[in-house]
């Protein structure tokens, strides 16, 4: 499960990338939302955008990446893969900037299909 979270903790984009092998349903959203406290705290203290694994619940980890505009990229996963996750976040961040820079981008309508495809391709390349 991958989430892009904007202001007021509102999810802007959500994708199931198969990074958790066990079916945990809505628990994903609970875990990611709960990890935001630590993300906010670590983002304030860390000079890096990639915050590594910020939280853990049972055997499920949460990794985070915070952009300069305080958009939080959150990934729930069950195996450790620091480099892959970092590369995934960097690629999604680049695509995110491109999507947001598009003058036709409408936050209410959400991200376009090409963005979704790019995120899923990045996940295939770096995470799975």
């Amino acid at each position: 499960m991958f989430l892009i979270i904007g202001k007021n903790d509102v999810p802007l984009y959500e994708a199931n990338l198969g990074t958790v092998r066990k079916e945990i349903g809505h628990l994903n959203q609970f875990i990611i939302h709960a990890a935001l406290d630590i993300v906010d705290e670590e983002a304030a203290n860390s000079p890096n955008m990639y915050l590594k694994t910020v939280d853990k619940f049972n055997e499920i980890y949460v990794s985070a990446y915070v952009t300069a505009g305080n958009i939080r990229l959150m990934l729930v996963h069950d195996s450790r893969n620091e480099d892959g996750i970092r590369n995934f976040f960097i690629e999604v961040h680049e695509n995110l900037i491109k999507a947001l820079m598009n003058p036709m981008f409408d936050l209410i309508r959400g991200f376009s299909q090409p963005f979704d495809t790019r995120v899923k391709n990045a996940a295939k390349r770096f995470l799975i």
Binding site: N8, D9, P11, G25, Q29, H33, A35, D37, D40
Partner: protein, 1088 residues
């Protein structure tokens, strides 16, 4: 930290055991008290005293003694059920960081406080520790006992002591005090007799250990120490005596006992450690010796010294002994004993104000040892102590972690997990900055676990608290889970109105659509069964405490709920005046004019302008619209089924109310509406009011499964109902769907007055006047029930779709009313016409028009008539087949019609009637430049059907380059001459030149005829043979007026055969002297 120390002191107070006779308990019970409760208010000793320990003399400013009736205190299993959370739907909850301070200002989990107190109490007097060992035993008997002395002797037998004394864990040599109660209120014994018993008691036991206490001697109201309905008959003097007794007990018995015991125990310890036998035993023997924690053993003694030192406040002595005891217990693998010692060691360090890390380490050690021992209850106790210690240190981050671990580790104790998750959530909330999202998550975890152990109220409280954090944040799956659970909890707790609120919210969640049809069905069924249960109550709750609004009920007892299935995508209300009778297929691309422009042609209609703007722009009208009694209003709703299952709703109705809530409205309803998955359907409902007044259309309602009504509320729609009056209905009797361009057809409109009253000033105003030749027909008056058929001729003009609008206005009871009808039809191409219009070279007053007429499709075309509609006369010069016509057009003469065939629908004179009116209407769309207006009447035979029509060629104007040469010149000369040059070597050719001034003003110019060997301008290159002019070749024209014609004659000379250009005339105008103008064409003449 002070709070923490206070808690430690109160929890680890010196204990006194009470053993009482039945009679003593009975007389104390008269005041609704137990023996321990009787003494409890007096156990706080506020004066200072000193205790001599082994190493120092401790000055105790005050002490609290804990009095207990029994050493076996069982945990109340129903403590959580008896202390449920009070659900307050509008209470103070955490929505974000701002609310936390207020939320934490009160005890948010009193059930945990109660459970914790009972739980800790149940773990007192554990066999692996001595901190709870009573330091004195008080035996109680009553003068009402048959033989008080014998009773005391019976009570004080060693067999009567609790199990822990028999196991030699507790010291049976502690001070024992005998307290004799005398019930003054009910006892028949006199004071002397009581004294006699007491003296006997003193003689037999020991005078210093015996006490006499009057009880139930109340004569005047005294200060109540026990709370309401307790201790009513205990007098002030009784209280004073009790206080004295406790004081004496402490000072005379407990303190000396502690001092004595410490010394004795220290001696025992020294003896046991120093002896050779013991040293050898400690090196070789202990490994095989089974551990027994009994009075006299080294470990027991060490622990007891530590506990006694702790109780009297010598924490240095205590911590050393606890440390030593802990190590010894560890060596003996007595894990609970070691854990308990480590736990106490941590508390000693706290009391000494030591390093927090040491406290944390000791508590961690205790926790690990309890874990190793498999003692989950003690592990939880350790976690509770840790909670207090970390709270005192304000280290909530670690506290949250430890509470979470404790909850996970003590899974055997069912209530532990939810209780500790709840406390973990609170700990997260106390971190600065607060982890409020983690708080929400752990509340949900706690709630889920409460649900599993049937503590539904607790679960509801947890889920509801958490829901505020997730609200409006688009975590739809989370919110769905919470709402589903909340709905179920409320249902279980018989809070049906609240359950319905949550299920309704759940059913409208957009993420419900992601789930499969089975899940969707489950949710809907749960909602239905909840509503059914709710409405089956004798008086169902009609208030939603969460939304804080009342729930309306239908007269049939079913509630009206904001149920959003099916989804209402769109709704519209059509008043009678909004309805338009439309003929033909509606086509939005059709050429259309606004209703407002038609209204502007009707006098006295300005008050309707705003209403007509609504028709033209679909804007909402600001004012209140009105309609008449008995007229039918249509409400259309576009319904959509977003689910994956079939939705069936019944009895769909509009909710209409008069403002004063009285009045009858005739209404139609839709009995059943079936919506397949993901399908849109439009439903139109009607109603007609029967009373004047203000009417509100609130929305629509429908019956769902016969259990409740779903309601969709419209935005405020108020209408004024006015008394009934006659209206006019209109319809087309015949109106074509399509016409050929130029085709003419008759159409009929029927207008009918209703039977209520006569109407006046009936007038039909319509768009597209160029098709009808007019835009308005006045019909006058119409009686009740009378109808009129209006015939209008229509001609197809402008190829494409047209929406023709008819506005029928009339006065009904003096009020201007209207009816609208419209028709959409298509104009198709019929004939193609090309024209070429040029000046004649034969006559200065004549033009030549070349007309090329062709059918636009495969049909037979024949021209019937050509007519000039302006001041021009027409004459056929030549025809080429049936298609090309050359016409001479002359200005000024009387117009003529050229008739090809006689049978024609229109009179031959087209200057009156329909053709003329249409032409005038069309003229408005063209520019005002005067020219020839030509009417071409034609007939097309298409598949043996004859179609007749007109085409108008308007404003045909001759191309006149007035700027170049403002003259028209006609050369009249023969075009071919045969001449014998051998007979006459010179040929004279007469050339007549007609000149017509085209200038608007009079002009003067010179005319010069040039020989062909003279070059007029650069382009003029003439080759031999040449021609010459004879006679005067130069003429001056003075002030030639506009349209004036002058004729001049010249004679040309040629000397040999050939082809010559006679146009050798050059004009020089006064206004432009330097410029010579020549007409740019050749007038050739062939000479043989």
């Amino acid at each position: 930290m002070e709070e923490l120390k206070k808690w430690i002191r109160s929890r680890y107070a010196p204990k006194v055991l009470i053993i009482s006779s039945f009679e003593a308990r009975a007389i104390i019970q008269k005041s609704n008290l137990s023996p321990a409760e009787l003494l409890q208010p007096f156990t706080y000793i506020s004066h200072s005293f000193t205790v001599k320990t082994l190493t120092s003399t401790i000055n105790c400013p005050s002490v609290k003694i804990d009095v207990v009736d029994t050493l076996e205190c069982r945990m109340n299993d129903r403590i959580l059920t008896d202390n449920p959370p009070q659900i307050s739907w509008d209470g103070c909850y955490v929505h974000g960081p701002k609310d936390i301070k207020q939320f934490l200002s009160k005890d948010t989990t009193p059930w945990f406080t109660a459970w914790q107190q009972a739980f800790l109490k149940s773990l007192n007097h554990s066999p692996h520790e001595l901190i709870d060992m009573p330091l004195a035993i008080v035996y109680m008997a009553s003068t009402t006992d048959l033989d008080p002395l014998a009773t005391f002797q019976t009570l004080s037998r060693s067999q009567a002591l609790p199990q822990l004394y028999h196991q030699k864990i507790y010291d049976g040599t502690c001070p024992k005090v005998f307290l004799l109660f005398h019930d003054v209120g009910t006892s028949s014994l006199k004071n002397a007799e009581v004294l006699q018993i007491f003296e006997k008691m003193q003689k037999s036991l020991a005078p210093s250990l015996c006490h006499w206490q009057c009880i139930n001697s109340v004569t005047e109201p005294s200060l109540n120490h026990w709370g309401p309905e307790k201790g009513q008959s205990i007098s002030s003097s009784d209280c004073f005596q009790l206080q004295m007794f406790i004081d004496e007990l402490l000072m005379r018995e407990i303190v000396p006992y502690i001092e004595r015991a410490l010394k004795t125990l220290d001696n025992i310890l020294e003896q046991k450690r120093r002896g050779l036998k013991n040293s050898i035993k400690s090196i070789f023997g202990k490994k095989n010796v089974e551990f027994s924690f009994q009075y006299g053993g080294v470990e027991h003694v060490t622990r007891l010294i530590a506990d006694l030192a702790f109780l009297c406040g010598d924490y240095d002595l205590a911590v050393n002994n606890y440390r030593s005891a802990c190590n010894e217990f560890k060596n003996l693998k007595a894990w609970p004993h070691a854990a308990s010692a480590s736990e106490m060691q941590a508390l000693c360090v706290v009391m000494l104000g030591g390093d927090n890390r040491e406290v944390e380490y000791a508590l961690d050690t205790a926790y690990t040892l309890y874990q190793r021992a498999g003692e989950q209850a003690l592990l939880l106790r350790c976690a509770i102590i840790t909670k207090y210690v970390f709270q005192g240190m304000e280290n909530y981050r670690k506290l949250a972690q430890k509470l979470m671990n404790a909850g996970n580790d003590a899974r055997e104790i069912q209530v532990a997990y939810p209780l500790f998750m709840e406390q973990t959530a609170l700990a997260y909330l106390k971190i600065r900055p607060a982890y409020f999202r983690k708080y929400a998550f752990y509340q949900v975890l706690a709630g889920d676990e409460y649900r599993k152990i049937q503590l539904v109220k607790h679960a509801l409280n947890c889920y509801y608290s958490a829901s505020h954090i997730y609200k409006d944040k688009k975590y739809d799956f989370v919110m769905m889970h919470l709402e589903h659970m909340l709905g179920r909890f409320c249902y279980y707790l018989e809070m049906y109105a609240e359950a319905v609120h949550f299920f309704l919210s759940l059913s409208s969640s957009p993420k419900l659509l992601i789930h499969n049809d089975q899940h969707q069905k489950k949710i809907i069924n749960e909602l239905i069964s909840t509503v059914a249960k709710w409405t089956s109550l004798p008086i169902p709750q009609d208030y939603d405490p969460i939304n804080k609004n009342s729930i309306p009920f239908h007269p049939d007892g079913k509630p009206l709920l904001n149920f959003l299935l099916p989804k209402i995508k769109q709704y519209s209300v059509r008043l009678p005046q909004d309805k338009v009778v439309t003929s033909g297929k509606d086509n939005s691309s059709g050429i259309s004019v606004t209703w407002g422009s038609l209204l502007s042609q009707v006098s006295g209609s300005s008050h309707l302008t705003e209403e007509f703007d609504v028709f033209d722009s679909n804007k909402e009208m600001k004012g209140i619209r009105s309609f008449h009694i008995g007229e039918t209003v249509e409400v259309s709703i576009l319904t959509h089924n977003p689910l994956d299952l079939m939705l069936i709703i019944e009895d769909v109705q509009v909710i209409v109310e008069y403002e004063d809530e009285s009045g009858i409205v005739n209404m139609t309803s839709l009995d059943k509406l079936e919506l397949s998955p993901k399908i849109d359907k439009t439903v139109t409902l009607e109603f007609s009011p029967q009373k004047p007044g203000k009417l509100k259309i609130r929305g629509v309602k429908w019956n769902y499964s016969g259990v409740f009504y779903g309601v969709y509320n419209f935005s405020e729609l108020i209408y004024e109902i006015i008394p009934e009056s006659s209206s006019v209905s209109a319809s087309f009797l015949q109106f074509p769907d399509s016409l050929l361009h130029g085709q003419i057809q008759e159409v009929q409109i029927k207008v009918t007055n209703q039977v209520i009253n006569p109407i006046n000033d009936l007038c039909i105003t319509f768009s597209h006047p160029f098709m009808f030749g007019k835009s308005q027909i006045k019909l006058g008056d119409l009686n009740e029930g009378e109808e009129k058929v209006v015939d209008i001729w229509l001609r197809g003009e402008f190829i494409g779709f047209h929406t023709i609008k008819f506005l029928i206005t009339y006065l009904s009871q003096g009020i201007l009313r209207y009816t609208r009808v419209q028709s959409v039809f298509e104009v198709k191409p019929s004939v193609k016409i090309q024209t070429r219009y040029e000046s004649s070279w034969k006559n200065p007053n004549e033009n030549i028009l070349q007309l090329f007429v062709q059918p636009a499709f495969n049909a037979e075309l024949s021209l019937k008539q050509l007519s000039s509609l302006t001041n021009h006369s027409l004459r056929i010069i030549k025809t080429l087949g049936k298609e090309i016509f050359y016409l001479a057009v002359k200005t000024g003469d009387e117009a003529q019609n050229i008739i090809f065939e006689q049978d024609w629908l229109e009179p031959v004179d087209v200057k009156s009637g329909f053709c003329w009116e249409v032409k005038e209407a069309l003229k408005k769309f063209t520019n005002s430049d005067p020219g020839l207006d030509l009417l071409i009447s034609w007939e097309l035979i298409i598949n043996q059907t004859r179609v007749q029509g007109h085409h108008y060629l308007l404003n045909l104007s001759l191309y006149q380059d007035k700027q170049a040469i403002p003259l028209r010149m006609v050369i009249d000369a023969p075009s071919e001459i045969s001449h014998d040059f051998s007979a006459t070597p010179v040929l004279l050719i007469p050339v007549k030149l007609s000149l017509k001034s085209l200038n608007e003003k009079s002009q003067s110019f010179n005319l010069e005829a040039y020989d062909s060997n003279v070059q007029i301008n650069e382009k003029d290159i003439q080759k031999p043979p040449h021609l010459w002019w004879s006679g005067n070749t130069c003429t001056r024209f003075e002030k030639m007026d506009s349209g004036e014609i002058k004729i001049i004659e010249f004679t040309a000379l040629v000397t040999e055969p050939g082809c010559y250009n006679l146009n050798r005339f050059c004009f020089t105008f006064d206004s432009e002297i330097t410029k010579k103008c020549v007409f740019p064409y050749q007038h050739q003449i062939l000479i043989n």
